[in-house]
Amino acid sequence: MAADHAVNTVLPDEPEKATLEGKNKVLGFWLFLGGETVLFGTLFATFIALRDQVNGGPSAQELFDMKIVAWATFLLLTSSLTSVFATMALHKHNLKAVQGWLVITVLLGLGFLGLEIYEFYHYVHEELGMTTSAFSSSFYTLVGFHGGHVAFGICWITGLIIQSMKKGLTVVTAPKFYVAGLYWHFIDVVWVFIFTVVYLMGMIGGKAVA
């Protein structure tokens, strides 16, 4: 409870779990990710059910540019690795390294987001709007929800980097870094399924499943 007590002393090994608040935060966030699994799972299930309903509009095969997807995948995967390095630096109590790795993570995340915005812009020009078909609605909603998560993550981690400049690495800020790292990994795990189910399966065409 008394998180503030330990602020001025030397950090323990796993500063994110040194206080009850920290432990609560980490556990609560894991459970939240369990809920997020259902959230994305429902979006996936709906996309799978509707992905062939193109309603005369462009289909996945006609539309998707796999080069962009491959680059986006690479950027996000690498950003997940750099956020691992940030968490490892956190365990070594090296604030400078934490901030450095997180800055790289954010930049890679911005690159990913830029590609996705370009991609959506491109598709809209190819006549695939939200209202075109059931496929388009479910595509934009699923991928857009993920993109929204990336955008939120970028803002969140940026905020953490900035506040850590003033607050330093304490048992109060450590859980925040740790939890943000978990969030970022989870976003990458979701993307693994998005590039598989949405893009790769889209290129194969809908006939194999559903």
């Binding site: 503030d4 939240f32 809920g35 259902v38 709906t46 939200m130 905020g159 953490l160 506040q163």
Partner: protein, 619 residues
């Protein structure tokens, strides 16, 4: 000890209630909100029964009737019983596990304000062009297409979205509280059954509510942005809504009933002066019901045409739930068996619960048989079934819990004489209202119709059913009077008015803000009873008397919820006068509040030992 030995912030009156992060006060706030919406839903129910009192009555118009049934269902499920459940969980669970607080006091407050303001948003639809009228299940395309539904449905979508968010974070809070905050010695298998059922209920909330979130997002996108999820003309599929709604909706039924099971277990055991019969089988049954609750949703959709295999599988899974539920019913009976039974009002409700809920469960098994369900579907038989479960089960359970824990929450006992009047009027009224509906359904009366024709043998049943409402209304009024009487009564309840068994009765009533002056050491199941049997006056402390750290109150939870509340209107009136700006501003305001919360650490304040002793730690 610390550089922040600030004292408890001096806050009083309304400001105190708007900023509190104390789980006991939030519990009371939940009860107030739940009570308010219970009255609204109750008035709607009375209007429904008034309209159906005799054939071709014209008290309310058909359209209004649709609004009434939609709002009655939605209000009662999401805004009345859920908050009362959360109220009891807030007031009692931390005390039962020997915790000073919940895991996330701030999030807890946020959960309440989101739920309350979401409910308020939904109900303002009455004054802003009409309430939703598409049924509480809001099936597409009725709900997704503007041609078939009014702006009311947008209130439904946004109101439930906001309230659902509050419920979700409330659920996570209780999961973490129960996992991480138990007192020394309070192992999982020593947790009281109410805590266990709150735990499983919270887990169900965690995995069920995100599905509702997604479903409501789809509906909102269809309605506001012209998406095609439920538009068959553009390849959409309306069965997806049915699936998503019930993937959420069926676990929701168990989210509601499990806490009632927990309450009944506590009450029956206390008033039989016996240990709960088959404690570990009760825990097992609770978890099993929670687990199976996710595998049965399609029994709401037998007539949708999912195919014989799906119907069979979901039918069998549904019948399986009767097994753990049966275990529970027999365990309650065997707890009562040979016990030194006291028929207090709480126990009357518990004992009334058992047969009533069993009837509801039996009709549930009848409905689980797919070919038979084709006959029962969408008839008053279904209405009778779920009211037996939700009112005869859940509401009886909640009344039992309220009579049982009222002294712990407010320090005063509810009047027993009035309580007995409450029980008998409500109990008889309930059965009068809903028992005939079984037969009305079997005779072919469809649900959700605003009237019926004379000469079809439906008159008598409907008349009795409408008369029964008087009993339930009378019971509720007596309960309201009882609250006032209790508040005016000078007699303090004392720590342990029922000679009860669990930890919450070891501390003063109402509990002090820090709950336990010293964290107790738990040495057995029924922690307090274990000490009583060992001849001890109270709990053995697990720590010396020391300074207690408390979280600071905050106005941010209310402001965050207010931001989303305002944003809700922006979306509801989307596209009308550039209201997206309102939506974006509201969300931005909420995000800003989140940022403030992150930037300014809450150092809290301390209550020092001398202060605790002043308040008296006789317990």
């Amino acid at each position: 000890m610390s550089d922040h030995t600030s004292h408890a912030p001096n806050r009083s009156g309304l400001w105190d209630w708007l900023t509190t992060v104390d789980h006991k006060k939030i519990g009371i706030l939940y009860l107030i909100a739940g009570g308010f919406f219970f009255i609204l839903g109750g008035v709607e129910a009375m209007l429904i029964r008034l309209q159906l009192i005799y054939p071709e009555a014209k008290f309310v118009a058909a359209g209004t009737f649709n609004e009434l049934i939609t709002m009655h269902g939605t209000t009662m499920i999401f805004l009345a019983v859920m908050p009362v459940i959360f109220g009891l969980m807030n007031a009692i669970v931390p005390l039962q596990i020997g915790a000073r607080d919940v895991a996330f006091p701030f999030v807890n407050a946020l959960g309440f304000w989101l739920a309350a303001l979401g409910g308020l948003l939904l109900n303002t639809s009455w004054f802003l062009g009409g309430a939703p009228d598409v049924g509480w299940t809001a099936y597409a395309t009725l709900s997704s297409n503007h041609k078939f539904s009014t702006l009311g449905t947008d209130f439904y979508v946004l109101g439930l979205q906001i309230a659902g968010l509050g419920t979700l974070i409330g659920g996570i809070n209780f999961l973490v509280t129960i996992i991480n905050m138990r007192a020394p010695g309070m192992t999982f298998m020593r947790m009281p059954l109410f805590t266990w059922s709150s735990f499983v209920t919270s887990a169900l909330i965690l995995f069920a509510f995100p599905a509702l979130t997604v479903g409501l997002v789809f509906l909102m996108f269809d309605r506001i942005f012209g998406a095609n999820f439920f538009n068959p003309d553009a390849g959409g599929n309306i069965v997806i809504w049915e699936h998503i709604f019930w993937i959420f909706g069926h676990p929701e039924v168990y989210i509601l009933i499990l806490p009632a099971f927990g309450i009944i277990s506590e009450v029956v055991s206390t008033f039989s002066k016996k240990r709960l019969f088959g404690y570990s089988s009760m825990v097992f049954a609770t978890i099993l019901i929670g687990f199976l609750g996710f595998m049965v949703w399609a029994h709401h959709m037998f007539t949708t045409g999912l195919g014989p295999i799906a119907n069979t599988l979901f039918g069998i899974a549904t019948m399986l739930i009767a097994v753990p539920t049966g275990i529970k019913i027999f365990n309650w009976l065997l707890t009562l068996w040979g016990g030194h039974i006291r028929f207090t009002t709480a126990n009357l409700f518990a004992v009334g619960f058992i047969p009533t809920f069993t009837i509801g469960g039996m009709t549930g098994v009848m409905l689980a048989v797919p070919p038979a369900d084709y006959q029962y579907h969408d008839s008053y038989f279904v209405v009778a079934h779920f009211h037996y479960v939700i009112v005869g089960g859940l509401v009886f359970g909640l009344f039992a819990g309220l009579y049982y824990w009222w002294p712990k929450m407010f320090g005063k006992l509810l009047n027993e004489t009035l309580g007995k009047w409450h029980f008998w009027t409500f109990f008889i009224g309930f059965h009068l209202t809903f028992f005939p509906q079984h037969f009305l359904g079997l005779m072919g009366m469809p649900r959700r119709v605003f009237t019926y024709l004379p000469g079809q043998n439906l008159e008598m049943g409907n008349l009795i059913s409408s008369i029964g409402v008087i009993g339930m209304a009378l019971g509720s009024i007596i309960f309201a009077i009882n609250m006032v009487v209790a508040a005016k009564s000078k007699k303090a309840a004392g720590n342990d008015p029922w000679d009860a068994r669990t930890l919450e009765w070891a501390i003063p009533s109402p509990a002090p803000e820090y709950n336990f002056a010293q964290t107790p050491l738990v040495r057995g199941l029924d922690a307090l009873w274990t000490e009583k049997m060992a001849g001890n006056k109270g709990m053995t402390p697990a720590e010396p008397l020391g300074s207690i750290h408390m979280p600071s109150p905050s106005f941010l939870p209310f402001l965050m919820s207010l931001g989303l509340f305002v944003a809700g209107y922006g979306f509801i009136y989307a596209g009308q006068w550039g209201t997206y700006i309102v939506a974006i501003a509201g969300i931005a305001f909420t995000l800003l509040c989140m940022l403030l919360r992150s930037l300014y650490d809450d150092h809290g304040y301390h209550i020092e030992p001398d202060e605790i002793e002043e308040k008296g730690v006789k317990a």
